[in-house]
Structure formats: C-alpha cells, structure tokens
C-alpha cells in the first residue's frame, strides 16, 4: 500500500488552507483528494463578493478567494488528484478512493484531514402537500445552474428559507431579470447574515416574511404558484393567513448539513448539534491522527474562519506526523454549551498541552438582545461579556488562555453560556 504523510479529503478552502499550513510546518508528502473537476470547493459558484476581508484586507469574490489558496498550493507544488472520490476511511487511516485513471485504490495515511464541506438539506425537508412539479430547486443547485452552467432558472420566483444562499440567490435572480416576489422564513428571525438582508433584499425591495411557510404547491407538470401562510409559535400554519403567489420557480434554502458519511465510517464520534465530528483544541477527532476543519466540522458563514481553522488543523496534523503523539496529552476537559449556547467547537480542551490561546467558536439558539456571554471553570465565573445582539445566524467566539488554567488544578469542566443579567 502506498503511504502518504498527510491525506486531505476535499480541495475546498478548508482543504487548501490545511495543505498550505502543513507544508509550511515542514511536511513534504501531502496529497489532496478532490471529487470535483477543479479545486476551490463551493466558492467556485459563490461569485458574489464579501470573502476574505479579514484574511487579505480586501473584499474578494468566492472564486478570487479560492484562487489565492489554489495559487499557494500550486506554488508549493502540493500534489492533488481531481475527479477523485474518497469512498472510505478506516479507523487505521486507510483511505480508499476511486477515479477513472486508477480505479479503486487504497492508500495508507500518516494523518487524515477531513475537509469535505457540507451539503444542502434535501427537499424532503419540505412537508407540503401536492405534486412535485418542475421548477423546484435547492438554492445551491440554482446557484450552480446559473453561475457555472449558464441556465436561466426562472422568471417569477418565491424563495423559502432566508439562509445566506437563499438571500444571495434572491439578488442574483433579480439581476438576471427575474421577479423575486417574496422570501418566506419559517423562523421569527433570518438565518442569514444581516449584510445579506440589506444588500440582497432591501436594495431591491424584496419582502422578507418571517414566521411564514409554504402550505401548498400549485401546478402538475410545471410550477404555477405557491401558497404561503403565517405560522404560530408552534410553527403550524395559522388558518386564514394564506396568500397565493403565482410563480414558475421555488427555491429552497432550508439549511446546510456537514457531509459526514465518511467520518462515521472512520469511527469518529459525531456531535448531535453540529452534525460534525467531536474534536479537541487540536481539531483532532476521537480517532487518533484524524483531524477535521471547515464546513464538515460545523457550518461556517465566513470563509476567513474556515481558513483559520484549517490552518490550525494542518499545523496539528503536521506536528503529529513529524513528532508523533506525546506520551501524555495531560488533562482533557470537556467544554459544555448551556443556556442558549447550542454547541462549542472544540468540544474538549487539553488544558496542559494547549496553545497559549485557543479560539472557541459557537452559535446561540435564538435571537437575544443585551445578553452576557459567560465562561465558567467548574462553577466559578471567569468572564462575562455583554453583547448587544446575538443571533443564530452569526457565529460567535471566545478565546481561552492557557495561563488562565494555572489556578485550577482540579478543573473538570468549562461551561460557556448566555446570561440575562
């Protein structure tokens, strides 16, 4: 079996940044496996701008941001295989891939970095009565059809779900000459970034109806219209609030889920909230030598954070293959997400062997105004920071310092939560 020091699954921004960082840390033998015909991942179809301001101090479009990392990988001559699907990863880090030139091949990896990104929730998530006529797309599919394949997707459009892809597509279709009639969102708040509501909906006078859902789909062969209705606190439609919109296209932007079939096969333990692997501060999963970063770990809205996270995964995988595992990782302390904090990444902290500062990212469960974000070591309050607004659509972070644990020799848990007063 061929051996490679680090094998990276996925050549999107996460895989590329991880590769660049691992090479910089001194690992020569790296291989990136990508199932698409090009590197760059989802960014190839995200042609809007707003990427990379924090990393490059410049506002780039998706393809331009990906291009920066592809250039780094090319400059470092890091090998990659395109049109190559990884079919299996074993707990012993044997990676099986398939492509046309080589067929089915299994290689041995010193370390594996999972960077497979995420996929859209299937449209089965839409529990509406009626037929399934042509003209219903997931927002990401419509984005690919328009931006890469050059199809005109529709003329009169309704969008269900106000996640970022739905908002971006509302503007994209308007600019392409379509009439976007309404964006309906089940929740009482938008799951997308505020800036996208401003520049994709408000700029074009597209109404956003919160607490609304699609109750009926009209048309047999081709979509002719949809009915939306307001939902009550139980998220069930309120009778009498139905409104009909004629349309030939319905886009569904109902969320993303990390692409983790492979991770499960590798025996990695999964987090119920993120749908991604559980990791420690090194971004190592519970299987030794298997790391995870980017949207496969938890869904990100900012690619800059993906690149940062992936850099860390690349560095840690490099340290592992170059120096092996230390005899003792020291104390491992769980991070608990409570009272309005839905999850944290990482989920455990190696307090004795951690970096001087570790960034913990998380999302909140609802829209909160004037709440505190509190950190506890065991039951002792360590810090409290007031936030004007917290929203599930925006990822939050806190930084934990290694030095802060010096006074807590008996630490058994770290709690991150929101507090009202």
């Amino acid at each position: 079996m061929t051996h490679h020091d680090i094998v990276i699954i996925g050549g999107g921004p996460a895989g590329l940044a991880a590769a660049a960082a691992a090479r910089k840390a001194g690992v020569q033998d790296i291989l990136i496996l990508e199932r698409d015909r090009v590197l760059g991942g989802i960014l190839n179809q995200c042609i809007h701008n707003g990427f990379g301001l924090h990393t490059f101090k410049e506002e780039l479009t998706g393809p331009e941001y990906a291009g920066r990392y592809i250039d780094m990988v090319e400059a470092e001559k890091i090998p990659y295989k395109l049109n190559t699907i990884v079919a299996d990863i074993s707990p012993a880090r044997e990676v099986t891939y398939i492509n046309r030139e080589e067929g089915l091949v299994t290689i041995q990896a010193g370390a594996v970095i999972l960077a497979m990104g995420c996929r859209e929730r299937p449209r089965g998530a839409l529990n509406t009565p009626g037929y399934r006529p042509a003209g219903i797309y997931s927002a990401g599919t419509a984005q690919r059809l328009m931006n890469i394949e050059g199809y005109q997707v529709g003329k009169e459009v309704v969008i269900l779900g106000s996640g970022d892809i739905g908002l971006i597509m509302a503007r994209r279709m308007t600019l392409a000459g379509a009439k976007v009639k309404v964006v309906a969102e089940l929740m009482p708040y938008s799951g997308g970034l505020k800036r996208n509501i401003v520049q994709c909906l408000d700029d074009y006078g597209i109404p956003l109806k919160l607490s609304h859902t699609v109750t009926q789909i009209h048309g047999k062969e081709r979509l002719t219209g949809i009915t939306i209705a307001e939902v009550g606190p139980d998220r069930n439609p309120v009778p009498g609030t139905e409104e009909y919109y004629s349309c030939d296209t319905l886009l569904l932007s109902v969320g993303l889920i990390p692409e983790n079939e492979l991770s499960k096969g590798a025996g990695v333990s999964m987090n119920r909230v993120t749908s991604g692997p559980n990791v420690d501060d090194r971004l190592e999963t519970e299987v030794e030598g298997i790391y995870a970063c980017g949207n496969v770990l938890h869904v990100h809205d900012l690619v800059d954070f993906v690149s940062q996270e992936a850099t860390l995964a690349g560095q840690n995988a490099a340290a592992y293959v170059l120096r092996g595992r230390e005899a003792d990782k020291g104390r491992q302390v769980p991070l608990l997400a409570e009272n309005g904090v839905r999850y944290t990444v990482p989920q455990t902290l190696n307090v004795d062997t951690m970096e001087d500062a570790v960034t913990v990212r998380f999302r909140v469960a609802d829209v909160y105004k004037d709440r505190y974000i509190a950190i506890y070591y065991n039951d002792k309050l360590i810090s409290r920071k007031k936030k004007k607004v917290l929203a599930p659509g925006e990822m939050e972070q806190v930084i934990l310092k290694k030095s802060s644990f010096a006074d807590y020799p008996d630490i058994s848990r770290i709690k991150i939560c929101t507090e009202v007063e």
């Binding site: 042609i47 291009g67 890469i148 401003v198």
Partner: protein
C-alpha cells in the same frame, strides 16, 4: 440633527452602525473597523455597490465566467450595468482580472473576470 441606523455591508460581520448627520458633519458609531465609517458616510451621501454576475463564454470548459465591477458603482446604475453584462459574450480562454467590458454603462468602471476559464 438626523440619525440613521445602518448595517455595515463592508464585510459579513455586519456591524450595526449609528450615523449622526448634522449638515456636513457626519459622525459614525458602532463600527468595528474604519471601513465601517467610510461605508456609512458614503451610504448617506451617495450609495454605491460592487456588482457581481457572470458572462457567457464561447468555447470554454465551463459555460459562464464570473465577473465583477472593478470598483463600486452608484446604486442607481446597477440595472444599466446588468443590461450590458447580460448582453455580453466572450471567447475562451479568460484570465482572472482580465477586462471584459470597458467603461460599463458609462460609469467609468470596467467589468473584470473573477475566475480563469480554459478552452474546452
């Protein structure tokens, strides 16, 4: 004095900005970085946007090349610009950064490619 609440679109952080306008004097608070203040001033005086879209490519390995306005353009010109972008066709190959439409819709701003498209 007039007060306006804006969301900065400078980057996806989307900071909530408060703008106090007193004649020529514009004060901005709530911004995390200097771009936020610049954005707020521009937004109240003369709003601009970067427009991104895609242009059909003949003979390329993919059908569309993604494009953007090289700098921001007046918001009121968005649809004039889109009209020219939608009518345009280019031949492969296209290189990232290449000018595909000069002085689009008389804004003085060029449309440039944001990805490479090789010949099929």
């Amino acid at each position: 004095m007039e007060t306006r609440n804006l969301i900065c679109i400078g980057c996806p952080l989307g900071c909530p900005l408060t703008v106090n306008i007193e004649g020529e004097d514009i004060k901005v608070t709530g911004n995390t970085c200097p771009r936020g203040a610049d954005y707020a001033k521009k937004e109240v005086l003369s709003p601009t946007r970067i427009v991104t879209s895609s242009i059909r490519v003949d003979g390329g390995d993919i059908a569309m090349v993604s494009v953007k306005t090289k700098s921001d353009i007046p918001k009121s010109k968005i649809f004039d610009i889109m009209k020219e972008i939608r009518a345009a066709r280019v031949d492969a190959p296209v290189a990232m950064g290449q000018v595909l439409i000069e002085n689009c819709a008389d804004t003085g701003v060029d449309i440039i490619a944001t990805k490479n498209v090789a010949r099929a």
